[in-house]
């Protein structure tokens, strides 16, 4: 644990990060920006896992292992999303949300 820092302060920072991500998710109009906001949200939750593991259950490793899994899933998700976005750009020449109204062809 960090000397002199309580768990409340870290949880406050991660909550702020989470809601910044939600704000970006709802206000951005571009698919790549939305992907970046999702990364922010995922990272905030990963810090929560790690910090709660460290402060409340220091003898266990569940939080660390779960955060490794979350990072792996986030990497897979980003790769797929980038592939979908590139394919979409080839088909409709735009990555704005308002242009993506058809699902196939």
């Amino acid at each position: 644990m960090i000397a002199g820092i309580s768990i409340y302060e870290i949880l406050t920072v991660t909550s702020i990060l989470f809601f910044i991500g939600v704000y970006g998710f709802l206000t951005r109009k571009n698919l790549i920006s939305i992907l970046m906001s999702i990364e922010l949200i995922l990272n905030a939750s990963v810090i929560n896992f790690v910090v709660i593991n460290k402060y409340l259950y220091p003898d266990m490793l569940q939080g660390v292992v779960f955060s490794i899994f979350i990072i792996a899933v986030a990497a897979a998700e980003t790769a797929l999303a980038v592939a979908i976005i590139i394919n979409l750009y080839r088909q409709i020449a735009s990555v704005e949300i308002k242009d993506t109204e058809i699902m196939k062809y």
Partner: protein, 180 residues
């Protein structure tokens, strides 16, 4: 000392996250996201999870950011500015987020955490043994499932990104519009 470092990291995290979701230039917002991710790695270093910090730096700062920059450069015209939401929408979403944050913070501060004072650090060896143990509480099954998932995502990304060719040099949307 660690207090100061944590506060500096927190300020970097929050400021660059806000800049990342509000910047009008696409590439700049990706770079602000990179700062945020590096700050998160700094927090992992502070609470003594060196392995996780290394993963954060390699996978996020080295992998995902490069992937996003790649797609930005492939797709976006750099000088083009992003379309921003209407002011009224921004205010409404900001208010909703502030209310949600208030709910979160009141819940967190009213909850009594029984914190265990400890300064023991976790080694990479312990994490590896936990990941690969097949006894009670081991994580061998999720580990294998994740490896299959990564393989599936790799193949899927290749198949999706390959796509179909444009019809006689034009994007498909133009061909579709003519058909209508």
């Amino acid at each position: 000392m660690e207090r100061f470092i944590f506060y500096i990291l927190a300020v970097i995290l929050i400021v660059s996250a806000i800049a990342s979701v509000s910047s009008k230039k696409m590439l700049r917002s990706v770079i602000y996201l990179l700062f945020t991710l590096c700050g998160i790695a700094g927090i992992y270093f502070l609470i003594d999870y060196n392995f996780l910090a290394a993963i954060q730096l390699t996978v996020y700062a080295g992998g995902i950011i490069v992937l996003i920059i790649f797609s930005v450069v492939l797709i976006h015209h750099i000088e083009m500015e992003l379309e921003v939401a209407k002011l009224s929408k921004k205010i409404i979403v900001g208010l909703a987020c502030a209310i949600g944050l208030g709910v979160f913070l009141t819940t967190i501060y009213s909850h009594q955490f029984n914190v265990v004072e400890n300064y023991n650090s976790v080694t990479t060896e312990q994490i590896g043994l936990k990941l690969l143990s097949y006894e009670d509480g081991g994580f061998i099954l999720p580990f294998e499932v994740i490896s299959v998932l990564l393989l599936a995502a790799m193949i899927g990304a290749i198949v999706i990104a390959k796509g179909k060719k444009m019809e006689d040099g034009r994007p498909k949307s133009e061909v579709l519009n003519e058909d209508k």
